[in-house]
Every structure is written in C-alpha cells, then in structure tokens.
C-alpha cells in the first residue's frame, strides 16, 4: 500500500487516461499519434490491473501477470501497425489520416 493514496485516486487517473486515449484516437490526424492514443488506453488498463491486484486482492498475482501480457501484446500490435503505417508513407508521402481516404461510404 502507498501512504495517503486510496484505490479510488488511482482509478481516477487511469479512467482519465483511458478517456484521453479515446479522445485522442478520434481527433488526432497523424497515424502515429493515433497509435500513441491506443497505447495510452492500454496503459490505463495496466494501471487498473496492477492497482486492483495490489489494493484489493494482494494474495493473488492474476492482475500483475495480466498486465505483463498486455504490455507484450501491445508491443506486437505496435510493430505491425508501424510496418503498415510505413507502407502508407511510401505510397502517400505522408501519414495524415485525411490522405488515407481512397475508400469511403
């Protein structure tokens, strides 16, 4: 436990991070920044898992283990996403979402 910090305080931070991530995903125009917003969401999830485990269920490790796997998978996802974004850049000479609109409706 950390002195003077309740589980509620940390949850406020993680929930705020989650919604900032979703907001960023919707309004950002750069593909890399969109990817960063997703990472923000995943990190909010990690904070949730760790804090629940530490404060509420300290005798089990499920939350810690889960957050490790989330981190690993996020790296794999980012690798594939960046590879694809790189190809977008080669075709378009830019990674603005406004350029990626050959298909619509």
């Amino acid at each position: 436990m950390i002195e003077g910090i309740e589980v509620f305080d940390v949850l406020v931070v993680s929930t705020a991070m989650f919604f900032i991530g979703i907001y960023g995903f919707m309004v950002r125009k750069n593909l890399i920044t969109i990817l960063m917003s997703v990472e923000l969401i995943l990190n909010a999830v990690n904070i949730n898992f760790v804090i629940f485990n530490k404060y509420l269920y300290p005798d089990m490790l499920q939350g810690y283990i889960f957050s490790l796997f989330v981190t690993g998978i996020a790296a794999a996802e980012a690798a594939v996403a960046i590879a694809i974004i790189l190809n977008v850049y080669r075709h378009m000479k830019g990674i603005d979402v406004e350029q990626v609109d050959t298909m619509k409706y």
């Binding site: 629940f52 283990i65 796997f69």
Partner: protein, 471 residues
C-alpha cells in the same frame, strides 16, 4: 502432466506442426507454384484429424477447455478454411504474389490457431491472447497486396481500429477483475452480480467481440477492409473470423455473463436492431461486389443475435446451424466474386450483366449462394433464418422478429439485384468465359452441396441440437 492429458489440445498441436512444416517447405522447396498444393494438402490432413472426437476436460488449471461442441466448432472452421485455401490457390500463383505465397498460408493458419485458443479459453487471459493472435496477423494479411494503396489503407484502418477495440475490451476485463478478483470463467459465473460497474464492464467488453463480429456501433471498418483486402482474405474475415467470434460470444454470454442477463439482453437487443437495419440500408446502395458482400455480412451478423438473445439450447443450436450454412453460402458468393475479379478484374455489380450467357455454371453457384443468404425457401439459408426467428419468438421477442422479417424482405431487393444483372440483363461486353482450376471448382461444388444438403437433411440440425446447451 501426462502426455494423454496434453493430447487434449491435439487440434492446436497439429495446426502448429502444419505451420512449422510450411516454414520448412519454404526453406527447402523455395517459393514455387507448388506451395498452394502442399499447404492445402497438409491442411487437409489436419482437417481430417480434427474430426476425431476429443474427451471433455480442462488443462493448465482451467485455462484451456475442451468439449465435444468445441471440437465440432473447430472442425467447422477447418472445413471453411480448407475450402478457402482451395479457392485461393489460383490467386496466389499470380506473378504479383511471387515470393510471398507461404506467408499467406502461415499468417492465415496463425490466426486460425488464435481462434482455437479463443474458443477453448477458460479464462480472460487465454481469451485475450487468442483474440490478439487472431487479429494481428490478420492485419498483415489485409495489407497483403503491398503494391495497391487500397490494400494498405485497409490494413491501417483494420489494425488501428482493432487495437482500439481490444483496448476498450481490456478496460472492461480489468473492471470485471476489480469487481470479482478473478479472471477465471468458472469462478466468475458464481460471483457476478448486476451492479453499475459490471454493467459498464460488460458494455466495454462487448466492444471487443462486437468489433470482430462487426456489429453496428463497431462496424465502420468492415466495408473498407473488405473492399481493400484480397478477396480470399475478405472471405476469411467474413466467414471464419466472424464465426469463431460469434461462437465465443454465445458461450461467454451463456456461461460467464449469465447472471448479468438483464444487462446484456438490452445491449444485444439494441445491437441486433441496429445491425440488421443499418447493414441492410447500406447494402442497398453499393456498387462494388466486395463492399456489397461486406454490408450483407453485417446484416447477417445481426440476424445471428436473434438466436443469441433467446438464451436457450434451441437458440444456441440455431446459431451454430446458421453459422454452418452461412459459411457455405458466403464462401460460394465470395468464391465466384474472386474468380471473376482475378480473371477479368471486374468487381462492380453492373459488370455481372449477361454473366449467365457466358458462364452458366458460375452464375448458378452465385444464384444458390445469394438465395441462401437472402433466405429463399428450398435452400438451407431459409431454414437457418427461420430457426433463428423461431428461437427469438419462442421467448416472446415479437417486435425484434418483426423488424428482422421486414429487413429480410428489404434484403431481397439487393440480393436479387445481382441475380437480375446475371440472368435477365443483357450486356454489350459480358465477362468472357472463365476456366477455373480443379481445386476452385471442387470448393464451389462443396459450397453448393452444403447449401442444398444442410437444408434437405434435418439430421444436421438435430445433431447440433444434441451437443448444444442453454442458459
């Protein structure tokens, strides 16, 4: 652990062996044009092995489950993938795909492995790993055609939205963990009680699966990705990926989230109405064949929810039966569209004018598949839809069934528009005669046989009914 218990995951092990063998084949035999035959042959062996029944049980302290129903679902997915491989051979042998033929097979099989684990998962960790293994390689497959901007654009849209959907789903899982202290399905079913926090968790969680099934608030990627991806990948997304996700959705809702029925009833009801209606309305105005099939597959996913919401043993068996029929019909339609696109480069519905004059057999396959998707009586699709409606009506969801029936009638318009273009309209320059290879023809023949036979023999449905269960 004994070897005998480990053999409970025999399906996964043999699929893994097939993937490793394919890597070796690439190493020693190079990127020849024989690879599609080798890969299809290896997968055929795996499919035949998969029909061997497996005992019921769990592995790794409950993380991995096996049951007769799960084995059947895996066999159904195997059959679909096998037909897809048979159809994909001629596309992959094109010169533009030189040097990356094996990649297609390895990535596809990796996603299939992910779906296996997702279906067999006994806790949220295994489920999440399976879901990601079934999603990330799929993004690479969607962007397979690196020389085309459309394909890459589809890949970018797919991976970013998939990452967002799985992030939201994980947030839901973390809330469930916070409320109960466990991620094991077996523990959760006893501990869940309806509370505002769990309602939010459930809504977040459904985002992840809703994305995979392309239910309506989460469907925005579907049309673009189906249009940009190679046709065989689009078929894989619409049939195999969706089928596996639907099955996981129904098992999770019936077992883990059973105590929250009052919550997910509302959510599924809303999604069903929205999915059927919006999928249909957008399908009406499509010109591109792949886009048209994308919206049709969104609408079909909405119909599936009618069986899910019923929550009974009958409901579950109707969903599985519908999925089986849907695999055959959609693979038939996508198969013909792929043959036409690969041999003539034509993809618009108007290009299909006069198709019957030049290619009577292919247009008959397309006719049967579209009739089955629309639900016109003699073929299996009619019974699939009819059973789904019956399952929902049995529990008193009359308004939902009414909306679904009205939408079925609307859907006749756009399915028959293609049929009309093929059979009744004349064209100055119809698509020329197409000679497809033996494997493709065999795959289409299996589709047609499935569409017709699954509708004629009631034993199929009875057999599925005996292995299903209800809430």
């Amino acid at each position: 652990m004994e070897t005998a218990t480990l053999l409970m995951m025999r399906n996964e092990l043999s699929l893994l062996i097939v993937i490793l063998l394919l890597l070796l084949v690439e190493l020693f035999a190079g990127q020849g044009k024989r690879i599609p035959y080798i890969a299809t042959g290896l997968f055929l062996v795996h499919t035949l092995l998969g029909f061997w029944p497996l005992p019921e049980g769990t592995l790794f302290g409950g993380m991995f489950r096996s049951s007769p129903l799960i084995t059947i679902i895996k066999s159904v997915l195997n059959t679909g993938v096998l037909m897809l491989f048979m159809q994909a051979g001629s596309y992959l042998q094109k010169d533009s795909n030189r040097g990356k033929i094996t990649e297609y097979y390895i990535l596809t099989l990796a996603t299939l492995l992910g779906m296996y684990f997702m279906i067999s998962a006994g806790d949220f960790l295994m489920f999440y790993l399976g879901l990601e293994l079934a999603t990330i390689p799929l993004a690479a497959l969607v962007a397979y055609n690196l020389s085309q901007m459309k394909s890459i654009e589809a890949g970018a849209k797919f991976i970013l939205l998939a990452a967002l959907a799985s992030g939201i789903m994980l947030f839901g899982i973390s809330l469930i963990y916070g409320a109960t202290g466990s991620v094991y399905f077996a523990d959760l079913a006893e501990q869940l009680q309806l509370s505002p926090m769990l309602f939010a968790a459930l809504a977040f969680f459904l985002t992840g699966l809703g994305f995979k099934i392309s239910l309506v608030p989460f469907h925005f990627w579907t049309a673009d990705v189906y249009e940009g991806a190679p046709t065989s990948v689009a078929a894989y997304l619409s049939v195999i990926s969706k089928g596996a996700a639907v099955f996981v959705l129904i098992t999770l809702l019936f077992t883990v989230f059973e105590p929250l029925f009052a919550a997910w009833e509302i959510l599924i009801y809303l999604m069903a109405v929205l999915t059927i209606t919006i999928g249909n309305l957008f399908a009406l105005r499509q010109q591109n064949m792949q886009r048209f099939l994308a919206f049709s597959s969104i609408a079909q996913a909405g119909f599936i929810l009618l069986g899910v919401i019923a929550g009974t043993q009958y409901g579950m068996s109707t969903v599985i039966y519908f999925l089986l029929v849907y695999i055959f019909s959609n693979l038939g339609a996508f198969g013909v569209a792929a043959i036409v696109y690969n041999s003539s480069g034509k993809i618009n519905i108007d290009d299909y004018r006069g198709f019957y004059q030049t290619n009577p057999k292919l247009s008959l396959v397309m006719l049967l598949s579209l009739f089955s998707l629309a639900g016109i009586p003699p073929v299996a699709g009619f019974f699939g839809k009819f059973f789904l409606f019956a399952a929902a009506a049995e529990k008193g969801y009359y308004w939902l069934v009414l909306i679904a029936v009205v939408n079925t009638i609307i859907s006749l318009y756009y399915y028959l528009r293609v049929v009309r273009a093929m059979f009744l309209d004349r064209s100055e320059e119809p698509i020329g005669r197409i000679h497809s290879d033996v494997l493709t023809r065999l795959a289409l023949a299996i589709s047609v046989a499935g569409i017709v036979l699954a509708g004629v023999f009631s034993q199929v449905f009875d057999w599925i009914y005996t292995v299903s269960w209800g809430m």
